[in-house]
Symmetry: D2
Subunit: 423 residues, 4 copies
Amino acid sequence: MTIQTAVLIETLTALGAEVRWCSCNIFSTQDHAAAAIARDSAAVFAWKGETLQEYWWCTERALDWGPTGGPDLIVDDGGDATLLIHEGVKAEEVYEKTGQLPDPSSTDNAEFQIVLTIIRDGLKADPKKYTRMKERLVGVSEETTTGVKRLYQMQANGTLLFPAINVNDSVTKSKFDNLYGCRHSLPDGLMRATDVMIAGKVAVVCGYGDVGKGCAAALKQAGARVIVTEIDPICALQALMEGLQVLTLGDVVSEADIFVTTTGNKDIIMVNHMRKMKNNAIVCNIGHFDNEIDMLGLENYPGVKRITIKPQTDRWVFPETNTGIIVLAEGRLMNLGCATGHPSFVMSCSFTNQVIAQLELWKEKATGKYEKKVYVLPKHLDEKVAALHLGKLGANLTKLTKDQADYISVPIEGPYKPPHYRY
Amino acid sequence: MTIQTAVLIETLTALGAEVRWCSCNIFSTQDHAAAAIARDSAAVFAWKGETLQEYWWCTERALDWGPTGGPDLIVDDGGDATLLIHEGVKAEEVYEKTGQLPDPSSTDNAEFQIVLTIIRDGLKADPKKYTRMKERLVGVSEETTTGVKRLYQMQANGTLLFPAINVNDSVTKSKFDNLYGCRHSLPDGLMRATDVMIAGKVAVVCGYGDVGKGCAAALKQAGARVIVTEIDPICALQALMEGLQVLTLGDVVSEADIFVTTTGNKDIIMVNHMRKMKNNAIVCNIGHFDNEIDMLGLENYPGVKRITIKPQTDRWVFPETNTGIIVLAEGRLMNLGCATGHPSFVMSCSFTNQVIAQLELWKEKATGKYEKKVYVLPKHLDEKVAALHLGKLGANLTKLTKDQADYISVPIEGPYKPPHYRY
Amino acid sequence: MTIQTAVLIETLTALGAEVRWCSCNIFSTQDHAAAAIARDSAAVFAWKGETLQEYWWCTERALDWGPTGGPDLIVDDGGDATLLIHEGVKAEEVYEKTGQLPDPSSTDNAEFQIVLTIIRDGLKADPKKYTRMKERLVGVSEETTTGVKRLYQMQANGTLLFPAINVNDSVTKSKFDNLYGCRHSLPDGLMRATDVMIAGKVAVVCGYGDVGKGCAAALKQAGARVIVTEIDPICALQALMEGLQVLTLGDVVSEADIFVTTTGNKDIIMVNHMRKMKNNAIVCNIGHFDNEIDMLGLENYPGVKRITIKPQTDRWVFPETNTGIIVLAEGRLMNLGCATGHPSFVMSCSFTNQVIAQLELWKEKATGKYEKKVYVLPKHLDEKVAALHLGKLGANLTKLTKDQADYISVPIEGPYKPPHYRY
Amino acid sequence: MTIQTAVLIETLTALGAEVRWCSCNIFSTQDHAAAAIARDSAAVFAWKGETLQEYWWCTERALDWGPTGGPDLIVDDGGDATLLIHEGVKAEEVYEKTGQLPDPSSTDNAEFQIVLTIIRDGLKADPKKYTRMKERLVGVSEETTTGVKRLYQMQANGTLLFPAINVNDSVTKSKFDNLYGCRHSLPDGLMRATDVMIAGKVAVVCGYGDVGKGCAAALKQAGARVIVTEIDPICALQALMEGLQVLTLGDVVSEADIFVTTTGNKDIIMVNHMRKMKNNAIVCNIGHFDNEIDMLGLENYPGVKRITIKPQTDRWVFPETNTGIIVLAEGRLMNLGCATGHPSFVMSCSFTNQVIAQLELWKEKATGKYEKKVYVLPKHLDEKVAALHLGKLGANLTKLTKDQADYISVPIEGPYKPPHYRY
């Protein structure tokens, strides 16, 4: 719920939508943006610094149009709204068949306990709420690598309840937002949280996907020596071609000054790593969930002390060494938690994809074009998103002649590339 | 026919193949490499500085195992061997039905006239040569963007005569050879041909695909101010995000010092552009064919004078202005014509893909796995190519735990990415 | 008065000094740092967002130890404390001779009117205050290019009242703080003030000295297209060698998105330039005084409207076009006004020079080593400052053998370079 | 004796000089350039691939105008012509006093033995040759860091025989030729000699002065991971600020792929280092003399085998490991030996300084302005050199107003910087 999403909300409203909104991250709301939207445009359930309980309460509130209404479309980011509906429907089906309520104590995952609690508490009041919701829903357009992964898993399992457009894998999203957005907002977050001089430091970037590439580029350009960790040999070889060293976290944990996780996986930096770090090493995550960093292990480490330097900047001191590390945004997305997320220009690329996806789902709602599967936007729409952004930057595109277009077998007006093209 | 292809030939020979070889470019043969291979390993039909007639004679010779033999597999680069066989088969079919021989004067294209002449002359001696060849052929593995485009066109038209593996679109080929290879060999070619100081100059890169990205990066890093021309808004937006100006050739033709074509299209720099360039502007092509630059228009320009500074470096002087431009490698691939092509490490990535493709085609020759279509290598082989090259660069890969692999739904040993992933 | 100067104050205090402190810039104080120092270490006269009256009141207060005390040494930054004393002494001499008080209305310069007012008001109470001060003063160590320029002018005019050490021209100051400090803090200021995406934008850097070099590098690395304006052909040629375009402000004023002044001169961006800029062009100064930007012309432009987006970020709207520009920090140093100045590591280099200079002045106070002239620190101390900072960054220096040292005619332990060496 | 020096010779000739010329490096002559000059403009004593005997014979021949003539001015590069005259005069003085001839066996240095032999052999024929020469000589202008160091040593010892202008320390020489020239010609030399792919490799740059900075920048930009060795803590800190690791050669000798010496010192890479290097590690020098690399130790290593891959590219195989290293240009300047030296644009900056220095010496030959000391050119001439090169690169300089010039206390037309300014 940033100023960029505020403009997205205004756009959707101007296109005729009635919008309810929540945040995808407990720290990422910009309260002034939320206030302006709440005043002018939409129901907003978001503030900076939510607890996890509040976060899921907000998510549930954003989805609740009352007994006779409901969302027709979801703009999702990370997939939590989609998750809540899918879990809600599952619980309602079990409840209908067996009378059994979901049991929060059935899981170790603290956050999932909250999800189950919310569903359980709602079930008693309205045992068909999520079922009605999914029946009404035309579809979801999903923003992130993480949310998209969940969608493909549900598609593979046959459990996806409505059509989904994978906005993340538009070229004008993943190759811009993830890459250039993070190249901008990683140093922004580091500087606002710690003012650390990046030049001369050793920085470890865990993961060299689009996000990792953006982070490594930013750190290298600012004068750090960057070391990459990777599981994928292709991405590792790309890092090497850019002059970056590829090592394991264990190889460099005691030597580096800045650690950034970008993997979308979990258990990347464990408390056992953190114990071995230099005093005042900075640890942060710009991947997706806070489980990239072992926050649970850190919190439960015997004798560890947490000193809050300022909101979203904590020093954790280990009892054996009396040295400490600086953890940003409690392990959550540091660019949103410690700075203001990606800048408007790149978010405009992403959100133009979102708006086009929403329009497309709505236009085709009755045609059956979209089944309960995951789709990417067709390439001509992806190219359109790019074209819409060129004027602002003073670009002058070249036009193909008919003869040239025929020679390379593309239409003059595009699309210009085969589907497998990687950009 | 460079030292890198020499090692590829030795590898194929060591794997049991009997190899006949020709070059894909009239200027790219390294005579010492050709000589060594001819002495030790294979029949070679290639030398630096062939005429077009000699080039196609070489191609025909390389394919000729005599009446009872023939190629089982083709390693192609640009698709000329594949083209010759397809045109040969087509001509043989017409001849069989109608008795008509191909007529070189039926085309304006000087090079295609040579192709038809060769086929015509061969037809009289052996009217089934290419037909026998295509029947024996297990498949082709193709190296380049240009060659692959031809293959997909034939697949679309239903005229492809044997299975084809698109090696170009292995990540470890197109994202390495095309990008990092050109980043290396473009300045190499410029320096050897002209010794021009790149720093401070204005350079125009036509096209911002993988090759263009590599060229633009090299020129920018060497201190040039780089301007990109593009037809594709997505690639244009990528250029802008890297700080490059995007304009049309017409906008900058009188202002720039260095012009590089990387498009894979034709008619990019026309004689009308060249007339307006600064004195001693450098014009070169690293895309694919020499028709990116209007060499025909240049040669036929009334009163133009060609002064050969040294082989593959010509100054063309226009009569009106008495100023001239420097054209490299007669408009053909300047990195091969003026330098020695890509360096070994990146060619090793490409050729490992070629070898794997050849092995795969041969292994599956009787199983029907490969139809008369174009295939890319499966991702696990692509990752294998990368993995084979990490040790040389001292990399240390991270291993997924079982738990992490499950969390992101990939096998521990890969492949790690969905097919649409863009790297 | 930032956290970095706080550490400097603590260091000076630990070395035995009694410290009084004010800020060098009305926006640059970090109030939490000032509060901590005021509580623990020194008298502090500084807060974020002073008026100019308050600023000079603070300066006067910082210098006032009461009738029997006074500063022995000055750590100056920009030379305002030094200026006040020199102007004070001058006024006291006139007053003694003629009984005439300084007349603030004798100058058009609003800030200098304040200086004269303060001196005039003090004169009546104590007509020998500044004279006593200069007699007691052992010397000043000056931090900035601007302050140093004033000192050399006074030296040339024979009006310098006490010895001065030019800390700015230590290599470990001007080639680090000015260059790498600004490379870090310029984007920091831009991001905090506006969140603008730098990638893809056209940025004009006025001046390509050390500060300009740092700014241009930062903007280029973040993906902007950078244009430099210069008066000095040597610096201009350096910019060109880095791929930057060199034009005049008039050439590009309507085309650029971001304007940064770094010259140390005045009247760089005039209101007549600002009127022609694109809507929401960003205008800021990281040189030294706010007169690099014609703030007076802007404020007095008929019909102009100032809209404060947030503190230190103003939109100025011109009546003819109803478009506006964004001016940062009211034309004052944007890295201090909109962010937190340079990061600690680089300030440590600068302030180590300051401390060494203060120790040197004090040690030699009675020896006559330093006359009323401007000095730079000897090279061995400059090298010492660097050496003290290598360990933090994990560097491992090579040691000369005796034989090698003799061969290049330097002592084994340094200094290693002739005085004219440029680094 | 390259095409760039050819233009210098033509320029000097056009200005009225009678020129005799030799090379400063046994490998750096471009024979076509030498041939053209010998035909049209000047006596040339230089060819590619001289022995050391031939090299000094050429030097002696270039200085010999016969008994009644002699050089009025010397353009020197490395100081060998100056050295020969100084040693010649010294020997003639000893001979006059004592009748003793110089004894080549008095030194271990093989090259100096040749110098003494040449002087000895000449002495018998003409015992006053060098003495007459030095009496006639108006002065020398010296091009290189190394030559300049010798001049300052002679100035310090009081043995300098004629005035010298230090061209190397013009900003437009050392900050352009040494830095940007090497940034260009180091990769050029590497590519022509070995075609090695620089991306992904570990490169060690010994020395981070202007030459080292250029080399490190080139290697980093080409995708290598660069490690710097330094003795000077200031230069080391500069390297760190650019993200380069600073270690000793011993730390990394077994890990790196490419080693470049840039120090101007001796004994940098010893045979004991070379023994420990990886197979096919590349070792080269772009500093000045071949004693940066322990060529003598290598040649005399028991059992070592030298395999010449091609001229100026040798593989040296150690008997213990049967692995070898690649040494370029026999340890001499690899950019001259393996490529064609710096490109014309940057040499034009350097040689404009040379021409201006020669004109200045000649103009002042009778005025006594220049004593037997070392001088740098005044800043306004340095700025003039830069200004003369801006037009070619399309730059547009800004002009100071009178008001601005007064404000910063410089003349409108320059010079713009104080003498100590570092650029």
